[in-house]
Amino acid sequence: MYGSLPPRLRRRVIGGALAASVAVSAAACSGGGEQNSKTLVYWSMWKAGEPQAQVLSAAIDSFTKETGVKVKVEWKGREVAKQLAPTLNTRNVPADLIDSADRFVKSTFEATGQGLDLNPVYERPVPGEEGKSVKDVVDPRYRRYATEDGKAWLLPYEVLATQIWYDGKSLKDVADAPPRTWDELVRLLDGRKAARGGGPLALDADVADYPAYWTYQAVLADMGPGAFAAAATDRTGAKMDDPAFLAAVQKIEKLVKGGYFADGYNGSKFPAMQQKWATGGADFLLMGNWAPKETLTSAPKGFEYRSFPFPAGAAGKPVQSVSLIGFGIPRNARHSDAAQRFIAYFMNKERLSKISTVASNLTTRADIPVPAVQADVKKTLDGAETVPDLDGVKMNQSGWYTKVFQPADTDLVTGKISAAQFVARLKKATVDYWKLNG
């Protein structure tokens, strides 16, 4: 058939085929993380223009300048891991490096066995910091958090932590002496409720995680780290028979029935209530340390972002829940060596500091000064035990969290059911869930 082609065209066809086969073999050679790659494809959870994207972008530019490795970055946004997931089983995984929230990296890489073990990254020297490797600079607490069965599944660079936020300018008394126990918190809320003639707590209850924070934090404070996860995974539901569990939930019931939540909290669209808080319509907001960033444009001039941890309960010790944002590398990444080099490069103090100075967030390096809006969070982190947010349940038992816990919890926090009804419903639904999914 090809014999009928004109000679010029035939030469082109043969030449094209040869070029294609050379390209294919080159691609095959570069598979499996060839050493000294000169290119790298990076998919990021940030959108172009976001402060973190600006910080990473500057680091990418200097990385390319110093190493000659070209980084093709795509600012994919928060769904980055979901976008990458369908490609992980193929020969051509399109990204060599991603960054994302911990739970997305874990579900995409860890649960499927498609993530690279990042322990070797911890052994890499940090460029520009002589004698220091990545393991010397990352707070060991966060390394432990992002390691399972000895395998590091995430290299974290940013820390998220849930606290109760308020305006330090208008609530100077709170800034001077934040409540440390549940009773102190309730006394404070009583005072604020009387002063403003309405509920002082802002809550966007339509974002199911936010009412979940209240219930989880109460259980954590009373029963300690791991109790919530133990209840979630208890096939018999017996853990929910513990009177301490009901007592913790009753604290939330008291807040609901006592009218401590601001009007409209159970019938608004996010971010109406957090904006209401930022504009003075409520005093307190239980939220991750992204609260300042999300409300900055609504807050009046001079708003002073301050926060205190959820007060200690029956467990009696200060505990701070955290989640992480960090890097992950697909197991079949073609340029995993370059991806690892970039991670080590970015963890350099000067470069990572910009997450603090430019993006106003907390980093995973203990030696980086924190921005003013995160100072209270950092103070808590320094003195408290850290636990994975929601005991890691949202990450590890997402089916139970979404289908069993959240519906019952939202009903509790929005006043549709009592604490006793909540516990009974949760227990029954948990037993049914594990019967079906165990």
Binding site: R78, K82, A85, P86, L88, N89, R103, S107, T108, A111, T112, G113, Q114, D204, A205, D206, V207, A208, D209, D263, G264, N266, G267, S268, K269, F270, P271, A272, K394, M395, Q397, S398, G399, Y401, T402, K403, Q406, P407, T410, T414, A429, D432, L436, N437
Partner: protein, 312 residues
Amino acid sequence: MAATAVRKARPAHAAAAAHASPLERRRRRLFWPFVAPALLLYAVFYIVPTLVTAWISLNDWAGAGPMRFAGLDNYRRLMLDPVFHDAFTNTLVILFVVGGATFALSFVMTIILRDMAGRKAVRSIIFFPNIVSGIVLSILWGFLFQADGVVNTALRGAGLAHPPNWLGAHLFTVIMIGLVWAQTGFFTTILMAAVDRIPRELYEACDLEGASALQRFRHVTLPLMWDVVGVCAVLWSIHAIKLFEFIYAFAGAAGQLPPTHVWNTAVYAYAEAFSGVPRYGSAAATGMVMLALVAVLVVLLRRLFRRDGVQY
């Protein structure tokens, strides 16, 4: 014996071809060149993915890594999962209640618009929700119905001290109202196009007979647009079953899933595939259930709307 039958059939077929007119023969030669590309595309983009989905539904699979054959286990779990029951019920409620309200409203609009001055402008206005993205509509719906939203402000202004907690207590109802609002213009526009084709003299005859607007609709308009109503019913059924973005964007917030009591089967499938560790097997099984539902409905609707064509 089969071979004999084939041998016998061949000359008969050849003879038939030989007796066909030249136009017929040319048509036959052109059949495959014309049909093959469409068939190929259909096979590649519809049949093959459907078969792959059916296969995935028989496995446990996280989207990457190994697949584990699970037989009908995903279907068994769907049948026993209370959240799926709610989602399936919601899908049927959307299909029949929202569909019924949408069609009833569309018929009323058709009756009103037929004789109305400026109906073209009105038609454009009521079609408007279809041009705007579902995400934008959902944001608008949030502004309207939240605690301090436009609707409650108006109700308070009208003297109602305690207006309903729309999003807290009646979320699914608000979603249904939104769907009726968004869909009515679309179906009214299609039905009006059918009404425009009906000869005016039939309505003039009605006027001479003294028929009311409702009688005109029942005896002239509806019978003569019956085929189009059938097409609309099929379109709505397919749309209602795979409806996703309005519920997801309106009832979900900050990138999170909506509360489970307002999920339909499409949201359920999405949640299985994209919340936490992906369960593509379960999501695919949900997709197959939706496909079966569409197939049954389309067959039933075609039977319901089948009748001899009316020439006019």
